[in-house]
Amino acid sequence: MAESMHVRPSVASVEQRVAAIDAAFEARNLKPAGAIEQLEHAADEVWVPRNGARVVARAWTDPAYRQRLLANGRDAVLELGLTMPAHHRHLVVLENTPRVHNVICCTLCSCTAFTVIGLPPDWYKDLEYRSRIVRQSRTVLKEMGLELPPEIEIRVWDTTADTRYMVLPLRPAHSAGSSEDQLAAIVTKESMIGVARL
């Protein structure tokens, strides 16, 4: 049959497809020296949750900083020497209290304040979290190991515009007397997304 001569070739592997676009960039001098290496390095070493952990620890120990952070998150994280991309013009810091628990998501894709809290983990970008956290927040958090007492109000924040959010977790009671560095060491990416408490 003539049609059988026109069967589409099978889909190239993702590795082959990435290599193809990479080579096409190379062939057109679209890869300035060091640019790819710099971006890969940033993904591994610069955009890490340790950044947000420093912000949280400072907010726990310096009330004036906490006020600035809650009033203008972007200015306050830049003050600590952190960076945010130009299109992240606004960072809203969501303060957990004994009565309120905040959790962030992006139902449309994967938006996060990645330069501050680190690049989003797999599960944050998966279909399950994106579809369910807005509608079944208490159930999903419980499935993820965070069972909140019924009197705690849950506030979900869906990152649908270019405003970015991060959660300011509650400081654990057992941390009294810890130094700022010691406090930063206990703050996790999960707590700044809001799927865990410390």
């Binding site: 889909v11 993702v14 449309l108």
Partner: protein, 206 residues
Amino acid sequence: MDGMHDLGGKQGFGPVRYALNAQVFHAPWEKRVNALYSLAVRLGIFNMDEYRHAIERMEPRHYLSASYYERSLTSLATLCVEKGIVTAEELERRAGGAFPLARPGAPGRSNAAGRERFQPGDRVRVRDDHTPGHARMPGYIRGKRGVVVGVSPAYPFPDAHAHGVEADAEPTYDVRFAAEDLWPHDADPALVHVGVFESYLARDDG
């Protein structure tokens, strides 16, 4: 567009596959794709709204079955072809096989007529409208009522910015909804906040 990517509130998905300290990358190609698309944005080949929209334009079955970084790859390649950087034939020749791209887009749109400025505390209603092009309004808030709790600086309007259409930048509002209003009788009680562009909102006089 009412695309497959608009997942908020969709039912049928199972437990989140959750692990503490989950890896960000699993293979070198994932990190390379992330760097290449970021580089393309820095070089001005496309903007983030075009990038997001090209992901949304993926054939729905491809979208649902592709990994996150395969979606990034597909958007990057689609936009490079559409912008005339490379042809689909060259990509397939270099890849040694088929290279599925996203489907063609529909026209974008400029800002809505009759936009209003809002302040925290204002009661708003999400306009009941649809567009075949890019939008950043999750379907689950369409037509719903909420309260403004925050205002952002002005951003490029995505429905225009993803399509090269002229438009004013506009603020987004953090709007608070009750989950029980979004999905009556079938939601865990919570307050759900969404970043909503001004063009998607009207004052709620009701």
